[in-house]
Symmetry: C2
């Protein structure tokens, strides 16, 4: 496991931490400043561009229900200066699967894309360890 | 609009054409041979690896309902040797949004990831033109 793998996993975890804490500065720090970014909240139409994406998170935080979202069984794929994390999530009783894309920008891994949607099942416990897609 | 943009759009369109024609050789040609591939059919758990992904399409084609799937308003993002197409789809009455990832392999753009899930609305006509994400 190399440094990039750990750094991408850490960036992915900061995203979920910002969500769970309703932390707007944290969410702002997660997302890329310079690249085109897109966010697809479950069942929504896509939100395009940094300002609109952050506005959508601000709106979600303003209507927070206290629900938390934990990544489980993160699968990391490194492709040079970009990376993907495929991860299960669960919010309330709803199992979700997310495609999270990152790019290295100014030496930091920042999110460029989040697409979350329903799936059949999530692992029953948070025990599923992260792994690398081969 | 440069060659890579057109080539990625064409690869994306071959994916939908293979689906609509139930064309397994066409679907096999669309997906990467060498890179890790993943496919998330709407509401399913993720399918990992070329063999399992192609098996899932074979199974879908075997139970075909005649439904067709047309990409609408494709948004293309080029990032060196990888690319994303964000596109609306509609199958029957169900509006979907898809994150499609491609990589350049042996000079051809091949699909490495497909994640389709529900969204609120699709453009009412196929008129939405492709565009480039900035």
């Amino acid at each position: 496991m190399d440094d990039a793998y750990q750094a991408v996993l850490a960036a992915n975890q900061r995203f979920y931490q910002a969500f769970n804490e309703g932390d707007m500065p944290g969410m702002e720090a997660v997302w890329s400043r310079d690249l085109p970014v897109q966010c697809i909240h479950p069942g929504w139409d896509p939100v395009l561009g940094r300002e609109a994406v952050l506005e959508s998170w601000r709106d979600i935080f303003d209507h927070a229900t206290g629900a938390t979202l934990a990544p489980r069984e993160e699968r990391v794929l490194l492709q040079g200066e970009t990376a993907m994390v495929l991860t299960f999530e669960q919010i309330g009783d709803q199992p979700l699967i997310a495609t999270n894309l990152f790019a290295r920008e100014a030496g930091e891994w920042r999110m460029t894309h989040h697409h979350a949607g329903p799936c059949r099942s999530v692992p029953p416990s948070p025990g599923g360890a992260p792994s690398r897609l081969q």
